[in-house]
Amino acid sequence: MRLNDAFGFGLRALTGARSRTWLMLLAMAIGVASVVVLTALGEGARRFVANEFSSLGSHLVIVIPGKVETTGDTPPLVGGTPRDVTLEDALALERSSAIQRIAPLVLGAAPVSYRQLERDITVMGSTAELMPIRNLELARGKFLPETDPTRESAVTVIGDKLKKELFGNRRAIGEWVRIHDRRFRVIGILKPLGESLGMDIGDIAVIPVASAQSLFNTEGLFRILVQAEGREAVPRARQAVIDIIRQRHDDEEDITVITQDALLSTFDDIFRSLTYTVAGIASISLAVAGILIMNVMLVAVSQRTAEIGLLKALGGRRGEILSLFLIEAGLLSVAGSTIGLMVAYGGVWLMGRIYPDFPLLIPLWSLGAALGISLATGLLFGILPARHAARLDPVVALAGR
C-alpha cells in the first residue's frame, strides 16, 4: 500500500466520524495549548525579572554593610554589629583598576514640602555617578554636580511623580523645596523609569550624599553601588572591594558583596525550574489527551470490526492494518496540536495586549516539546488499539462479533 493512500484512508476515516474526531482534537488541542501557554507565562516571568535587573545597571557590584553568612555553622542569631561603611571607604574603592565608578548611597524617608503641599518620600543621598550606574535619565535640568562628595550642597533632583504632586504643571527647576528642616533647590527632574526592583524612581528626591548624611545624622552608608570596568572585571572588582574594605576595617571582612550576575542567575534558575515544573504539570493534560485518544480509538476499532475483517479479506496485511490505525492516531495528534498551537498563540497574543509590560514569549523548546509529546502520546496510545485491530481474526471480524 502507498503511504499517501494510507493517509487518505485515515483522513477519510476521521472525517467520516466527525463528533468522535472533534472530541479527540479538542483534547489534544487543550493539552498542547496549556503546555505552550504555561511555559510562555513561566518564560515571561523569567524575562520580567531579568529586565528588572538590567534596569538596575550593568556590571554592578553592590556592597552592603554587615556580613551575611549563608554557609557554614549556625550563624549567630543577631549578626555581630557591623562597622559602618563610610563615605571614605566608598571613595577608597575608586583606587582599584577593576572599578570604573562608584556611587555611595544613603537612604532615608523624609517629608518634602513646597508651599502648603507636603509629601513623605524616599530621600536618596548619592553622587553624580549614580546617574550612569543606575541608568537614570533626566526629563529636565541637570543631575547632581560632579563636586567633592564630602561637601554638602543644597540641591536636589526629584522624580517626575513628586514633581507633579508638588508643582503640578508649573516650572519646578530653580524652585526651593523643604526636605525635613532644610531647603534644597530643584535642579533636575528624572525621567520616569517605572518600578525598579520595588523602588519607584518617580517618587524620590536625590540629594548630595554629604547632605543626606547630615540630614539623617548618620556616618554609615546604606549601600555602595560599584560599577566594574566590564563584565569580565566583575570578579576582580568584587575581590578588590573586599580587599580594600578589609584593609580599612582592621582586617575584618564585615561587608556583604553581591554581584548582579550572581543574583540574576539565581533568579534565572528559579524561574527556569518554575517554567519546567509548570510545563511538566501541563503535559499531564497531554497524557490525559493521549489516554482519551486510546479510548476513542479502541471504541473505533470495535465499531469498525467488520471493516477490519473486510480489509483482511481483501488482502490487507497485518502491518498495513496496524499502520492504517497508527496513521489515524498520528493525524489526530498533528491536527490537534496544530489547533492547540493556534489557540496558544492567540492566547499569548491576547495576554500581550492586556499586559503589554509583561514580556510574554513562547520559547522554541516548548513548541518542540509540545509537538513531540503530543505526537508521541498519540502514537503510543494509538499502538494498543491498532495492534488490537491488526490481530483480529478475519472470520470473526467479518461476522462483526
Partner: protein, 228 residues
C-alpha cells in the same frame, strides 16, 4: 486449480469440540461453477472461509493454483487473498463512508497500484456492471442490488482466479437477486472460478457442479453433476 486433501476443521465451543469439517476432499478446475448447499451448521461457510484463506484447517492440505497454501504464513496468505481470491458477502460489507468507486478501489489501494491506473480500472468495471452513474454514490444512496454489484466489482477488480460468494442473494429481493446471480454467472462464463454458498435450491441448482454438506462432510448421496 483447487485441490483439498482431507481437510479437517474443528472448533472448541463451550468446552466441547465441534467438527465443522471432516476429511473434506475436493477438486476443482479453472472456470468451474460450484454451489455448496446444506443446512445451517453443516460447515459450508467454514469450507468457504478455508477456500478463501480466511481460516486455516487443523489438518489436511489445500493447493491453490499449485501452491500449498497451508504452508504459507499469515502475510503470504494475505497477499494470496489479495491477488487470487475475491469475496462477495451476504451483507455486502461496503465501507459506508466511502463512495462506490472508493469501495471498489480498496483492493487496488492495498496492492499499491498507481492512482491513475486505479481510476481507469474502476471506471471500466463500473461501466461493465452498469453502475457508471453510481460511482460517486455512497452505499446508503444505493439499492440492495446495486450495493451487491458494487461488492462484486470490488471482488473482481484484481481479476482473481477464484470468486467466493457467501449467500450473495440472502439480503436481496427476488429481482435484485436474479440480477446479482446473472452478474456472477457472466463473470464465470469469462473464466473465473465461482463458488456460491446458498440456502436457496433454485440458485444452487443453477451451478454446473453442486455439493451438499451434512455435518461437516460432503454428502455422498447427493449426485455430483458436471465435470469434477
Amino acid at each position: 486449480m483447487i485441490r483439498l486433501e482431507r481437510i479437517n476443521r474443528s472448533f472448541v465451543v463451550g468446552g466441547e469440540t465441534v467438527h465443522a469439517l471432516r476429511d473434506i476432499d475436493l477438486e476443482m478446475a479453472a472456470g468451474d461453477y460450484l454451489s455448496i448447499m446444506g443446512p445451517s451448521g453443516s460447515g459450508k461457510s467454514t469450507l468457504l472461509n478455508i477456500l478463501g484463506l480466511l481460516d486455516q484447517p487443523n489438518s489436511g492440505r489445500y493447493f491453490l493454483q499449485g501452491t500449498e497454501t497451508t504452508a504459507l504464513n499469515e502475510t503470504e496468505q494475505a497477499v494470496a487473498r489479495r491477488d487470487h481470491i475475491g469475496f462477495v458477502f451476504q451483507s455486502f460489507h461496503l465501507i459506508p463512508r466511502l463512495t462506490a468507486a472508493q469501495n471498489i478501489e480498496l483492493p487496488l489501494m492495498l496492492a499499491g497500484v498507481e492512482p491513475t491506473e486505479r481510476t481507469e480500472r474502476v471506471a471500466a468495471v463500473l461501466e461493465q456492471l452498469g453502475l457508471g452513474d453510481r460511482a460517486r454514490h455512497r452505499p446508503d444512496q444505493l439499492s440492495g442490488g446495486q450495493r451487491q454489484r458494487v461488492a462484486i466489482a470490488r471482488a473482481t477488480i484484481m481479476q482473481p482466479a477464484l470468486l467466493l460468494a457467501d449467500e450473495p442473494t440472502g439480503n436481496l429481493d427476488k429481482h435484485s437477486g436474479d440480477e446479482v446471480v446473472q452478474t456472477l454467472e457472466q463473470l464465470n462464463s469469462r473464466g473465473i472460478t465461482l463458488v456460491v454458498v446458498t440456502h436457496d435450491p433454485e440458485i444452487g441448482g443453477r451451478a454446473s457442479r453442486r455439493i451438499r454438506m451434512v455435518d461437516g462432510a460432503i454428502d455422498p448421496g447427493h449426485p455430483l453433476t458436471g465435470s469434477g
